[in-house]
């Protein structure tokens, strides 16, 4: 399961998450969503540190964050 889950339909491609990610794993994708925006995309789920910066700056509440816990 993804650590960084981006709701592509909610994303407006503002790029704020890309600018704040300390490990640089977010990019603006080449795809278009249904409303014509190119959504943000995570390039390397395993590198996510769960710092939450992307979710904090996202004005569209498009990002959810998860972390594995050992059972």
């Amino acid at each position: 399961m993804e650590r960084v889950s981006i709701d592509e339909q909610q994303c407006k491609s503002c790029g704020l998450c890309v600018s704040v990610c300390p490990v640089k794993i977010l990019i603006i994708s080449d795809r278009l969503n249904a409303r014509g925006f190119r959504p943000a995309q995570c390039t390397d789920q395993d590198k996510c540190t769960s710092c939450s910066s992307c979710a904090l700056v996202c004005p569209d509440i498009a990002i959810a964050l998860y972390r594995e816990v050992k059972a």
């Binding site: 407006k12 503002c14 979710a55 004005p59 509440i61 990002i63 959810a64 964050l65 972390r67």
Partner: protein, 252 residues
Amino acid sequence: MAEEMKVIYERPRSWANKVTHYCPGCTHGVAHRLVAELVDEMGLLDKTIAVWPVGCAVLGYEYFTFDSVEAAHGRAPAMATGIKVTNPDNFVFTYQGDGDLASIGMAEIVHAAARGWPITVIFINNGNYGMTGGQMAPTTLLGQKTTTSPLGRTPQTNGFPIRVAEMLAQLDGPAYIARVSLDSPVNIRKAKSAMRKAFNAQVRGIGFSMVECLSTCPTNWKLTPVESMERIRKEVMPYFPLGEFKVAQGVL
């Protein structure tokens, strides 16, 4: 693989999960999200009534799952007063922009603050009238170009920007007044903690509270969302310093 996923961040329950009408990168969405998170975390969903302004947030009620009313331009504090008086146990907040709160609604906000009754105000300061196309606001900085100050705001013709937080903090009525910024993850965290204090000031019955949020308007500022965040830090914060201007006893 016996691995479970722990939630680090998910959408708040108070959020109606619709795509907002705000422009890409506009920090209205951030302020909305903080409100929704706090309503969830503080268990206020059933008691909340939001009062929405005229301005970009006019459709704010579309995006939340609590009760809402839509005020006339600038009158949200008066309407909130009417609502709070009828049901004092409810949680009542207004959400207002700088034209709404600091221009046409200046009388209403000052007197609501002076009465000091426990209502909470989320004040979005983005230095212009966003919805109507970027005209000059009471908070527009000197030199800032807008559609009604095309050569830049000058004190001779347009007067000076109003520091609302400092002004209201002079009154005895308010319990909590702060200015925060929505420009970065760290400041957004601080903004949320200020809003929590503001909400608490009402929930604990201490008094009136307001959080002024330095916000962006990438479309009318004609900057990218990322550049807009930088502008807050470089140009806006020097005139509108962040901080808590009034913290009454018991606010936490």
